[in-house]
Subunit: 763 residues, 2 copies
């Protein structure tokens, strides 16, 4: 390998990640997406880690006076790059979500007079929050460092899968504190807490849990926390409802009383520190118990060597990121690529103790036998590209994700696969039942080893037959969701139809004719909402007529969700050819697509488009939301395939930049990044559940994917440059192909794919 690497370096000396010690992590900038709408977090985590230990720059209630508080949305990941103060460091964060939750267990060091209120952004000194500046901030995979200016404390953090490792370097003080805020949270900050429970086991160890009612309705996270040095005293304040007074008659519980509980509490621990003294905290999480949290803590970090854990976290990242070896025209491309790869490896997250115990959807404790249980399935987003990407780069993990989804199904009282699930909860966010896409894709791509595929198929069919789910009964009866019965009806009809096609594909693969027939038929339901008079998909009423009120530019109340008719009408990923035919044929469709990408979307329509910045739009094409993620590839079904190449390169360039504001929309648990990765490599899974990938235009120069089956896939883009966005021809293992797609076999069996790039489109 060393020799080959040397050769590669010779050929592509400029930004190779090869060398003695492969260090792709150097290209990752976790700050990308932390500004504006990316909703990523900059803190420390390991690949798919349960702990995301990251600074929160504010906490905002989800509602104020019963009304939605728009500011809450900015803090979906806890951190906004434009802020100039940090409230503290909490242990759980979603990466790139649009709604949110989590933000559990905020830790904040301070010196001087104890402050138990966070204080305001305008005046950080009014509370325990502290000013900071990006000049004193380092964010790397598995490591985060910042100087807290108010008290001159350096904060560093790293992590293992289940343990956050803090390191605070204090000034000399007789009055140093670690504040432990159990009220802090992301979304619904002041009324999300249901209960918190804390035990001070000894002068270094604390355990407990926090139970919330937020996006996850019934959610509990357990913790164990250990200090590197004993605290001299401690206490807490209950900001919520007073306890039964008997407790308080007997003790002064506010000070040095080892048991704390309540709905709203903040605790603190006092130290004396020398100048430059480091106080470390190991903080572990468990889905099931404090006992489990203690086990995790002891198993994963049995020492106090912060540098060692930091090193190991970095190594773990390099191992995962190193699965794809890339060279590219510019360092920015590498930063974009590896940061996207980093973002795709953040979630779903491991959700079980070191001994395999996890909380199930039924709120019972279960044992994961023979698999790693994962949570945080943002499936409406991630079925599109993230899971297909995993089928190539993380096939084992994807199998375990399928197993986790099946465990969810087994534990579901609805007998449904997950829709949007996190932390032993179904939050029902968005639409469709896209678990079936993820599983069908795994089945079709033969990444189902060790899983009872027949059972997954039954689960898929059963899920798709849940009458009371979101208009399904109407859909099953009438072939579409009527808008007067259930809103966003067109989006639902289109996505159900695609999902049904996925089920049919899995059934075909498994020779289950009955299910194949049932769902093949359903998969054509998209046709029922196409309005030939307007040329768009359009909401239909239960009387069979299209709704009169209709505006193809508007997003809200037009029968769609997170997309207008222009974007959403393209959503027939499983049968673009038929769709194009219906919309007037290839030539007309190609023009229609051009219009999408080039028209001007007036501000009034943009204003109501959620989750994205103005930059998240190209013309009227909304890349910041997912429904049209496959759209640029649809030219492949026309005679203007070169337009796909052009558009894809434009999106890659416009929508992904190596800066904090570099993401034009929510990263959505890696979906936006997975789009980047596929497209950067030159192909994209327009219809997960098929074994085909539409060809686009790669942005890399070379990529070597080390597959888990031991094989290697090399991708080479000859004559690559910013100008040469067109693909002249594509060779698979030296043989030119005359079709606009690759097959999964061509990828997973390894070999070489060569793109010949050109400045001229091949019309």
């Amino acid at each position: 390998m060393k020799k080959i690497s040397a050769v590669l370096v010779l050929f592509f000396p400029f930004f190779s990640v090869n060398g003695q010690q492969p260090n792709p992590a150097q290209y990752v900038n976790p700050l990308i997406g932390t500004q504006k709408m990316g909703h990523t977090y900059p803190g420390a985590t390991v690949p798919f880690g349960s702990v995301q230990l990251s600074p929160d720059t504010d906490q905002q209630p989800h509602n104020i006076g019963g009304k939605y508080n728009k500011d809450a949305y900015k803090y979906c990941a806890g951190y906004q790059y434009d802020d100039s103060s940090i409230v503290g460091f909490s242990h759980t964060h979603f990466s790139g979500t649009g709604h949110s939750d989590l933000g559990d267990f905020l830790i904040m060091p301070s010196v001087g007079e104890l402050q138990l209120e966070p204080g305001s952004k305008a005046d950080p000194k009014s509370g325990f929050r502290s000013a900071f500046s990006h000049a004193n901030e380092i964010a790397e995979p598995g490591y985060y460092k910042v100087k807290l200016d108010d008290d001159n404390i350096w904060a560093e953090m790293t992590a293992t899968t289940r343990v956050g490792f803090h390191q605070y370097t204090f000034p000399k003080s007789d009055n140093a504190h670690i504040i432990f805020d159990l009220m802090h949270g992301i979304y619904n900050y002041d009324d999300k807490n249901v209960w918190t429970f804390v035990r001070v086991e000894n002068d270094r160890t604390i355990v407990g849990y926090r139970q919330t009612n937020g996006w996850a309705r019934t959610r509990t996270v357990y913790f164990a926390m250990e200090f590197s040095k004993p605290f001299s005293s401690y206490g807490f304040k209950n900001f919520g409802k007073e306890d039964y007074k008997g407790f308080w008659r007997k003790f002064d519980q506010s000070k040095n009383f080892p048991e704390m509980a309540g709905k709203q509490i903040r605790a603190y621990f006092d130290f004396k520190t020398e100048d430059g003294e480091k106080v470390n905290i190991k903080f572990s999480l468990s889905p099931v118990s404090t006992e489990g949290a203690m086990k995790n803590l002891k198993a994963e970090i049995p020492h106090w060597d912060f540098e060692r854990t930091k090193r190991e976290a970095k190594a773990e990242w390099n191992k995962e990121l190193g699965k794809i070896d890339v060279t590219a025209p510019s360092r920015d491309d590498l930063v974009n690529f590896y940061t996207a790869l980093y973002h795709t490896f953040l979630s779903p997250t491991v959700y079980m103790d070191v001994d395999g115990k996890y909380k199930g959807l039924d709120q019972n404790t279960h044992q994961a036998n023979g698999f790693t249980n994962y949570t945080t399935f943002s499936l409406w987003d991630t079925y599109r590209a993230l899971h297909p990407f995993f089928n190539i780069v993380q096939p084992k993990r994807n199998r375990d994700m399928v197993r986790s989804m099946m465990a969810h199904y087994d534990q579901s009282v609805h007998k449904m696969l997950p829709v949007w699930s996190h932390y032993a909860n179904e939050n029902w966010c968005m639409i469709g039942y896209h678990s079936v896409s993820v599983i069908a894709d795994a089945i079709v791509k033969n990444n189902i080893e060790g899983i009872d595929a027949g059972k997954t198929l039954d689960a898929m069919a059963q899920t798709a037959r849940t009458k009371y789910y979101d208009g399904l009964e109407h859909y099953m009866k009438m072939g579409y969701v009527p808008e007067d019965k259930n809103s966003s009806s067109v989006s639902k009809t289109l996505e159900y139809a695609y999902d049904d096609w996925c089920i049919a594909q899995a059934a075909k693969k498994l020779n289950r004719t009955d299910i194949f027939n049932e769902f093949s038929k359903r998969s054509e339901n998209w046709k029922n909402v196409y309005d030939s008079s307007s040329g768009f998909m359009r909401p239909k009423m239960s009387d069979g007529k299209f709704r009169e009120k209709f505006d193809a530019l508007q997003t809200h109340d037009q029968g769609f969700i997170e997309g207008n008719a222009w974007n959403y009408s393209l959503y027939v990923p499983h049968d673009p050819a038929e769709m194009i035919e219906m919309m007037g044929g290839k030539a007309k469709f190609s023009k229609h697509m051009d219009e999408l990408f080039t028209m001007h979307l007036p501000d009034e329509f943009f204003a109501e488009t959620e989750d994205i910045t103005r930059e998240g739009i190209i013309g009227n094409y909304v890349h910041g939301n997912e429904p049209a993620h496959h759209a640029a590839y649809l030219y492949n079904w026309t005679d203007d395939k070169w337009k796909t190449q052009e558009r894809v390169r434009m999106i890659l360039k416009n929508q992904y930049r190596p800066t904090p504001d570099g993401l034009g929309g929510n990263d959505d648990c890696g979906q936006m990044s997975a789009w980047y990765l596929f497209s950067a490599l030159g192909f994209y899974p327009v219809a997960p559940g098929s074994d085909q990938y539409a060809l686009g235009s790669p942005v890399i120069k070379t990529a070597t994917i080390k597959l888990e089956n031991g094989k290697t896939l090399s991708i080479e883009a000859l004559n690559q440059s910013d100008k040469n966005v067109y693909v002249e021809k594509v060779l698979v293992n030296g043989k030119q192909i005359d079709r606009p797609y690759l097959t999964h076999a061509e990828i997973i069996n390894g070999g070489k794919i060569t793109f010949y790039m050109s400045e001229t489109a091949k019309r």
Copy 2:
């Protein structure tokens, strides 16, 4: 045995419980104590059962407008005999407590229009509650039946250890309901709920849990519920905070949606019923999980035969009650005796699943290996007579209770034995650390088999050294609790001194000289609060002077709790002789005692005496509260032992009556009843932790105690009658004894104790 029984019947034909099928349960009237201050419940339970399925006649908030609501107190056991309507039947009840909690999972049948509010006492028809009358009510051990007049429904219930079995006989209705109220509770009714979670697994099975913050700060009870017939529809209403709206956008969750959660919810299940149709419900509890609750349900009642479970419950009661075979002068005496025995066998309650899993004080799930885990330790009450009684009649259970207390200790973050514990919580109620009395009594009486006695001793010592506990640091430093530092200081000083003596006794038995010395010394601390000028124990300040303000009749703010100086000053159970000497010698003390029993306590002082009716007082002697429970026996340490006999018989007669209002004070988890049982048998454990029982005056004619060691103790009171309250002589195995006490060996080794009763006192 049969033959012996026959002989007994020959001698004492009149109210023997012997016969072909011993049926002592016939003498039990669970309604005794349900009126006024007894705080017992009339519903169905088995001995020490986890489920207490009982009617609740009202639900009262613990506080109204931030102030204590006196009416809550009336409903400590959910049922007040004077009420004329029933709200429903809930599954958990304390027997006889002074504070309260529980009342989980209320079930109520109804027909006609669905009502989801309970309605008012004044107008039961305004809600789902129903009028009832005692004429249509049957309460027996393990069985309760009542007619719900409003809807003409007969309700019956029985139970196993972990499962309540309901039977509702409906009229014909197209609109019959079972209401399932998860908001209902005892104490803190409207804000005790922290969270509730319910899943409708299928059209007959429901599981879930309820989490409360009441007397127990952090308490969760899990359930599983099965109907004998499928419901046709169901639904629920959330009376609390609204959920994250995403849940509700997708579904109409109010109807036929199988997952319910919230802080305040009531559910309902609809049926069609024929006239006279019975609908049964099996309802199981678990301390750890819904999975555990399902296991318990299937293991304990794997059928739908209500009569069978009822029969088995009765048989279980007869087995336990049959451990003492009694004859007595009147049926009333038998009713008093067996009802008292019934009440002593209600708690502590089994607190683990059929597979041994239970929730520990650390909120983790633990496995009870080799013992049955119990909860509900009302130790300030029950150390006095209940646990000593168990050391005779329920030694195995008492050992398991000690094991349960040790498990509590092991799981305690304070490393303390229980003070007042229930459902994996320490509620810290009342004072002292009387676990040590229970354990010392077991050690001294050799009922410690299979338990690491040395470890229990360390636990006792460790508990007694918890500086931050309730004035202990001062007590340890100064030899008393100073009233200016910690209120109820005299009661605390006296009880700590007694508890310390218990530790010393255990240490002596186990040859642990260090601990013996330490705690023997501490056990004399009672002397530090005796004020010779007033002749009473009296609050002392931290400057070493007695507090000036002092009123020996007042109860509140006099340095005592639940007792005035007259009653509490007698509290030196471990050294009455020394106490009497200090108080002026035998003769003076005897007169002092006479005054206690005969003086008139003005109403103003009674008014502030908690937990008792006017009848719970004899003179100024308060039997309805516990501190002076040993007092009547103190004459034994004077030359007027006959006065003990007279007073005891007076108390037995006045304070225990076979009527709903028959208990003069809270039964306190069996302590009041255990006092009755000991005294009725002729002896009483003045100082648990010693092996001596002070002699009194039995009220029975004969009693045969079938000991677990296979031996039999016969007690005979010759010439017994209501008038013959004096004991002429006592023979142990035919040999007259010349001391006023029995030893534990004389009891536990079996044999015969004969009292010769007389109308004349032996002066």
